[in-house]
């Protein structure tokens, strides 16, 4: 049976994609951020996952407001990156695994989460930046991916509780896949940031550090929070923390923290990196 080796979290903002394209790894502004990643890449080199499930939100590349699914999953053989309008270079496509995707879809819908299924899906920075950070050589490596896209653009957004439960259904689906694949789950976005309004630039370090602490050993702490609670405490785009909670729901109750890094600011954002290993 397939098994989940662990979960990762990372920011996914486009400024990171731009810094990668310009190779600013040693730049004094960027270094404290990029220096967090090599220990996670070492862990990935050891566990060698076959498939990455990337939980992210689309920012107006694949979906427009004409059709805005709450939960959408990719079921394509390949996912393309495309021009998003403001200039990070388009990068090589990502490999998919339709049979694996359809297994997930069948199992998760049977668990009463009514997913939107996508046989064609363009992936934006929310997906590509985390993949580049964890697997700079993803194209040669040929790691297979499944995009799991959650609406954080147009309210109402799904609640922390609902996303955590989706994660549980995802974990169950993976465990019932009749292969020997090793799967890693990426919860992307966050931590606190706000791009819009007079409150732009809002960051809440205290709340972020609490999130990084609690999500490891006490993720159910967050389940009674509302989306507006998250917006208030983490900023309008900090509500992306629901993507982390979805990842955490898929892992076991007990996880081992392999690595963490918290750094701010990168662009307008506080960035949180976690590497959690599943413990049986």
């Amino acid at each position: 049976m397939a098994r989940i080796v662990g979960g990762l979290t990372t920011s996914h903002i486009p400024a990171i994609g731009n810094a990668i394209a310009r190779e600013l790894f040693e730049d004094p502004y960027w270094r404290p951020f990029f220096d967090g990643y090599p220990p996670v890449r070492q862990w990935l080199d050891q566990v060698k996952p076959d498939i990455a499930i990337v939980i992210y939100n689309d920012h107006g590349l694949n979906f427009f407001l004409d059709k805005q699914p709450t939960f959408a999953v990719g079921a394509a053989a390949e996912y393309r990156n495309e021009d998003e309008g403001w200039g990070i270079p388009t990068i090589a496509p990502f490999k998919g695994d339709p049979a694996f995707s359809w297994h997930l879809i069948n199992s998760i819908v049977a668990d009463e989460f009514d997913l939107t299924t996508c046989q064609e899906m363009a992936v934006d920075h929310g997906f590509t930046v985390p993949m580049q950070l964890f697997w700079p050589n993803y194209a040669e490596l040929g790691i297979r991916t499944v995009p799991l896209c959650i609406n954080t653009v147009q309210h109402p957004l799904p609640s922390p509780k609902r996303c955590y439960a989706l994660g549980k259904a995802l974990g169950k689906a993976i465990a019932s896949y009749p292969g020997d694949e090793k799967v890693v789950i990426l919860g992307t976005g966050g931590l606190s940031h706000q791009l819009d309004g007079e409150r732009a630039g809002f960051i809440n370090k205290k709340f972020d550090l609490m999130c990084m602490e609690k999500i490891v050993d006490d993720p159910e702490y967050f389940l009674d929070m509302s989306i507006l609670d998250l917006v208030r405490d983490a900023g309008a785009q900090g509500a992306e923390f629901i993507l982390w909670l979805t990842m955490r729901g898929a892992l076991n109750a007990t996880v081992k923290e392999v690595h963490r890094n918290y750094h701010l600011p990168i662009s307008n954002t506080a960035t949180g990196l976690l590497c959690l290993e599943n413990v049986d």
């Binding site: 400024a15 107006g60 147009q154 309210h155 819009d196 409150r199 600011p265």
Partner: protein, 114 residues
């Protein structure tokens, strides 16, 4: 705390805002494609007419005032594509919305890490 309690300087982009801002956001969504960015720059008024922006939306676009575009239903992810046409990133946009210089805005962000 109650769900109805407003959050300072924050517009929740909900159904009502999504309806109000639909033409503006649809225009900005079109800017994913270079030929559309070029067409907008070639004739902004004609391009706004094509997408059916109302007068308030058109004026906010002409003025490039992000807070006004948000008040007209603009969503920040779509507005970022508009800003990108003019070479503005989210820090430029943040500075404009908070009435700061870009340097002061960056310093405000940095200080929150202390």
């Amino acid at each position: 705390m109650t769900a109805a309690e407003p959050i300072f300087g924050t517009t929740i982009f909900d159904g009502a805002m999504a309806v109000k801002g639909y033409p503006l956001n649809k225009m900005c969504y079109s800017f994913n494609r270079k030929e559309n960015r070029d067409a907008f720059l070639a004739d902004q008024e004609a391009y706004m007419d094509k997408y059916g922006l109302n007068d308030g939306q058109k004026q906010a676009v002409r003025d490039k005032i992000v807070l006004n575009m948000i008040a007209e239903g603009g969503n920040i992810y779509y507005l970022a594509k508009f800003a990108g046409i003019f070479g503005l990133n989210v820090q430029d946009v943040g500075a404009q919305q908070t009435g700061m210089t870009v340097e002061a805005f960056k310093e405000m962000l940095r200080k929150q890490g202390e």
